[in-house]
Amino acid sequence: MSSLIVFLVAFPLVVGGLLLGIRNSKLRNVIVVLAGLVVAGASIVTAVTFGNGDAVFFGLPNGLTLGRSLLVLEIAIAVFVVAVSIQHRRILAPVLVLGQVAVSVYLELSGKMPELEPGRLFWFDRLSMIMVLIIGIIGTLICIHSLGYMRDYHRSSPLIKGRRTVFFCLLFVFLGSMFGLVVSNYLPLMLIFWEVTTLCSFLLIGYTRTKETIGYAFDALNMNMLGGLGFSVAILMLAGQPDGLDLAKLTAGPATAALLPALALLCLAGLTKAAQMPFSRWLLGAMYAPSPTSALLHSSTMVKAGVFLLLRLSPAIAGSSLGTLVAFVGMLTFLFVSLVGVTEQNTKKVLAYSTIGSLGLIVGCAGLGSPELIWVGVMIIIFHALAKGLLFLVVGTIENRLYSKDMENFDTLLSRLPLVSALALTGIAGMFIAPFGVVVAKWTAIRAFLEIPGWQGAALLVIMAFGTSLTLFYWGKLLIKVLSMRSVSEYERSVEKRISRFEWLAEISLASGVIGVAAFLGVISEQVVGPYALATFKGTSQSFLHIEPVILATMIAALLFLPALALWASRHEGYNTADFYAAGRPVTSGGVMGMALGATQTVTLRNYYLDGVVNGKLVFRVGTIACGVLLVTLIAVGMVAR
């Protein structure tokens, strides 16, 4: 078991190092595909080996100990950050990272670091299993997708200097550190992985090295380093507590008042990484990175680390005012970013808002903490990782074909890129079309909110009702654009043929995953997520999914309807696309209509962005402030509780 885990963590790191030296793209393709298959295979083997799914703890194989290696790594990270910051004349990041190092050094040197039980370095349970599978499989698919994507990306943006060796190295390092993160039980160990993901995301976001992206990269670095600092201070505080650094023991049940301050800081770390308000800005900036980065960072890995930590903490904070505050930060973030999302025209940013919103829901669930809500949170993680991963990749593919991320330029996509449209529709359906996926989770969440007494329950319901409707609006707009049709030229039709095999492979696999998970929803719920939720909260045995045959049928029908329709329509001819109503004016094929003053013009349509009703920037600012206030309260509550 333990050697498997070490392999899982170490192998991607080694591959990453190897890729740094490989400039031949054919060779790189082979290595990435093979290594990806090994990683995916290893994650599946791990999951299978793990068997019955109860929590197990273990240390390094052959009784190895960590020694001072963590400190060394920490200092190495700090040195790198300081160096980069000096190069770009930034001050905040080095301050934060030096703070962390100071804490670690203090702990090490003062000998306050408690004795570590060697057999409890790692913790593997059903949540780790789910995460390992997500990282292993989806992460691999994203790496493979990148092979095709990056080729086209550099072709379409010749001014950007190709640094694909670094890019692919980072992807694999990322996967390795994520593996490490989700199986760590010893908090200082988790912190190291935590910092490595921060660093990788910083480098990936700044990949193009333009002034703009470097700015966004530092945004991400600063905010995540702030979380990291919180993490280290929490470790400092927990170091004095018995079993304080043992995550499983720490979160075995409701926390004592003494632990709350440290937990508050850990929550802060989780919230930064999960890009919750007021830290949402970094994730939006990250949208300027190449699309596989977005897919990797925002569907399966980086941000999931944040909610993963919060879900882990859930049993400890649930029921306390700390938990409630965390929950409201998440739910309010969900509401605000959904509202901002309706005013956004950049498709990747819409996906980003949707991501932050979904994470907000998970955070809400984790903060409130009950078997049902934990079930909801994990379910959303699974659906979101698949569907959003797919969507980011598809948008990347579209972007490389249409040279635009603007939702408005996606119109008549179905006529132009029918197969890509079918994939996009699968992703969108997976994200929001009732009664599927995330919606099933929302439905269960509403049921759970009904049981929460007092104003909190009412407020959560209202937030959920409005937030959900808002997501309907922006997804609906995207759907309208993707699903519209017109007659297209041969050239436009040929564009789709130039998409690489790697991209098709990754996207089709993810789409199948979305459908597969829907089909096996019952099994996943009863065998994995349900037992996990019950084990975590020591609840009585119950079924979470109230699936009746009629619901299941509706779900599958709704999910398959749009993509199937798209595939069918792409082969269908014989309709008069010139026959639309234009107030009596003549219309010709390709959507050209007669205009005033004897002119002609192709139909142009722009979605509504609720101008004059919703001011996106203002809403974002208000949300940031509101959640910021909550966050300050949250930390204050933690401190006062002491």
Partner: protein, 141 residues
């Protein structure tokens, strides 16, 4: 069973009428005449319409529009030319921009005379149009 006789929806287009016939067409829908009694709906959209009520005559600019509106109406469909201008060009037949009655462009099924055509005649024209609609449906069936 055919429902065409019970649900004739009209589209009104003002080709180059002086408004006289147009407002009488509208007047047909209002309380005194209440064409809706016969199931008539003024759709305003060729794709929903069964009967094209057209007033005024054909000129250089509207000829394309008339053709296009007719083409966009789903079958079976009927054209009712309302008023002297639509029937023949009327008093404006000699004006330089008038090409003649609607039958220059479309197959007219019913001619409603009058300048301006009276609501009673328009209703009569619509009812005759319903008959023509029935016939066309039978032919196509």
């Amino acid at each position: 069973m055919s429902f065409f006789s019970k649900s004739p929806w009209i589209l009104h287009y003002d080709a180059s009428s002086c408004n006289g016939c147009d407002i009488e067409v509208l007047a047909c829908l209002t309380p005194l005449y209440d064409l809706e009694r016969f199931g008539v709906v003024n759709t305003g959209n060729p794709k929903h319409a069964d009967i094209l009520l057209i007033t005024g005559s054909v000129n250089e600019r509207n000829i394309d529009i008339i053709r296009n509106l007719y083409r966009q109406m789903p079958d079976p469909k009927v054209v009712v030319a309302v008023g002297a201008c639509a029937c023949s060009g009327g008093i404006f037949a000699r004006a330089y921009n008038i090409q003649g009655g609607i039958d220059k462009v479309l197959p007219v099924d019913v001619y409603v005379p009058g300048c301006a055509a009276r609501p009673e005649s328009i209703i009569d024209g619509v009812v005759q149009g319903i008959g023509a609609l029935e016939q066309k449906r039978r032919k196509s069936a």
